[in-house]
Symmetry: C2
Subunit: 318 residues, 2 copies
């Protein structure tokens, strides 16, 4: 049976014919369309379903946070500036308290990120939120999953595993190690790395946002770039609470838990740490590994320099 | 309690600040963004939920038909040419038969309409399909709901009530008058009036597609244009089978049933029928009434020249 990514590849990824404006189609964080001599449009659509992408009973405020911010993260991963939003809202009932809570936060975020809501749809049905974000980028400047070269270093912009541990804690009453407030917030109010995406335009050879876990998302970079990689488990920036957990669990959460919305990017190895620090001023960043050309695999290297095997690869819908 | 349109107006329609590229925002069939000196981008998003917008058990082929075509109808109503599609698909299970049926028809339609699928999302959850269509139009040429002037005639591009009767027939085993095949097809495979939309660019003073029924959709034109209208019930082009029904039921289906996806437009009264016939060559069209400025109401005029009262206004989610 095909998995989520194979379904898209098999059923929906057709060759584009007479579509010279389409600079990037299916299979990246967003699509890119060339519409004028100097600018390109970057678009990304995402659906969040109650009970699948967020727990039942999540406050309307946090539904607004999560649904908009994860979408902006896709635009950030392209190095684009998000500008316009369409919102298709499916609600089980006409609930004015929910609508008030959702719209208040949604409108606040629009203001904070200088976005305009330009259209949408309102429908009755099981709670789900679909958002399309539209961004702008100077012609030819977008970041993509392909482009990583053998020898490039691999970086991530922040600690991993916070959101996954927070979700585990909320679902699992056996966990008695409370996540920090920052970790809890990361689950429902991730910070899209928009400014960092802009800073990476002239540095990164490839980029993706970490939504399904570093293992799956870095694998997308490898597949699109037709390269392999070695990642050192000791170099992963584990989120604070993960450092107190059993090591296998910490690795599992950090690499396959998803929902981090940090950026993973590659950059040429001749750029020193201080070169990068001059360019990347709006996020921390951590070197976690290196692109190789030995094979197309993602090797996780453990303490003992042996290859580490994950229990699962990461979140997939199917 | 607020209805569907009031919810959007109350919670989500904020003044646009520093958004000079947004030529048309919330409240029309689609939004319009100016991205180059000569072209504008027209975008429309719609969600279809199983059991709400289509009957449970509808074939995946017809789910593909309906979900894409109703979206193209919004682009047609703007006078734009649809070009690019994003698709967010929420499926209860990984069902290869369903995916094969859906994608085969979806891809066929993309080819027929010279569209490219440029991105999307695949999610587990209750069956729903969200599509955003992106169209292109020369600068300043888009049709909108506002613009109808007192004295303008009101037209529709085809017979009304077919889809509503077909739906009623399929849901109601008491109906023994079988719809024609064309009427059944109109429910699940509506024909977006794209070419007609292009022809109307230099003729129509306002335009909308009829998705919720002529009564509600023409009311949107009246509200946006700040005018009123008289519509003669005898001039409505009733779909074939409706002519055999009880008159009140036929009026109800034709004016409030929805799902017709014909265009309703207004044009200056000095354009004669033959003037219009020279310009509008790809659809039939029927004059159904006239814009007035007496009040902001939509008056339905019956046989007896008295005002006719509908039992319900048309489909609303809330």
């Amino acid at each position: 049976m095909l998995n989520e990514f194979e379904i898209i590849e098999h059923y929906f990824k057709l060759p584009l014919i007479n579509q010279k404006e389409v600079k990037l189609g299916i299979g990246d964080d967003a699509a890119v369309i060339s519409l004028s001599q100097d600018k390109e449009l970057v678009v990304s659509i995402d659906t969040l379903v109650e009970g699948v992408h967020f727990l039942k009973g999540l406050s309307p405020k946090d539904v607004a946070n999560k649904s908009l911010l994860v979408n902006l993260s896709d635009i950030a991963a392209m190095g684009a500036t998000p500008r316009w939003i369409t919102l298709s809202l499916t609600l089980p009932e006409n609930n004015s308290v929910w609508l008030e809570g959702f719209s208040k936060q949604f409108n606040k975020l629009l203001k904070n990120y200088s976005l305009a809501l330009i259209g949408g749809d309102l429908t009755k049905g099981p709670l789900s939120i679909t958002i399309q974000a539209h961004g702008i980028i100077p012609k030819g400047k977008f970041l993509q999953r392909s482009g990583a070269k053998p020898g490039d270093y691999i970086y991530v912009t922040g600690e991993l595993g916070a959101a996954a541990y927070a979700l585990r804690y909320l679902k699992n009453t056996d966990d008695n190690l409370k996540p920090t407030n920052d970790e809890l917030e990361k689950l429902n109010k991730p910070e899209p790395k928009i400014q960092t995406g802009l800073e990476l335009r002239d540095i990164a050879t490839s980029c993706i946002d970490i939504s399904d876990g570093l293992f799956i998302d870095l694998s997308h970079i490898l597949n699109c770039s037709k390269v392999g990689a070695d990642v050192k488990l000791n170099d992963i920036p584990y989120s604070k609470t993960l450092l107190k957990l059993n090591k296998d669990l910490a690795i599992d959460l950090a690499l396959t838990g998803g929902d981090d919305y940090e950026l993973c990017f590659t950059a040429p190895s001749n750029l020193s740490k201080s070169d990068l620090e001059k360019k990347i001023t709006t996020s921390k960043f951590f070197k976690v590994g290196r692109i190789n050309q030995l094979d197309l695999k993602l090797n996780l290297i453990g303490d003992d320099k042996k290859i580490y095997k994950l229990k699962s690869a990461g979140y997939q819908h199917f």
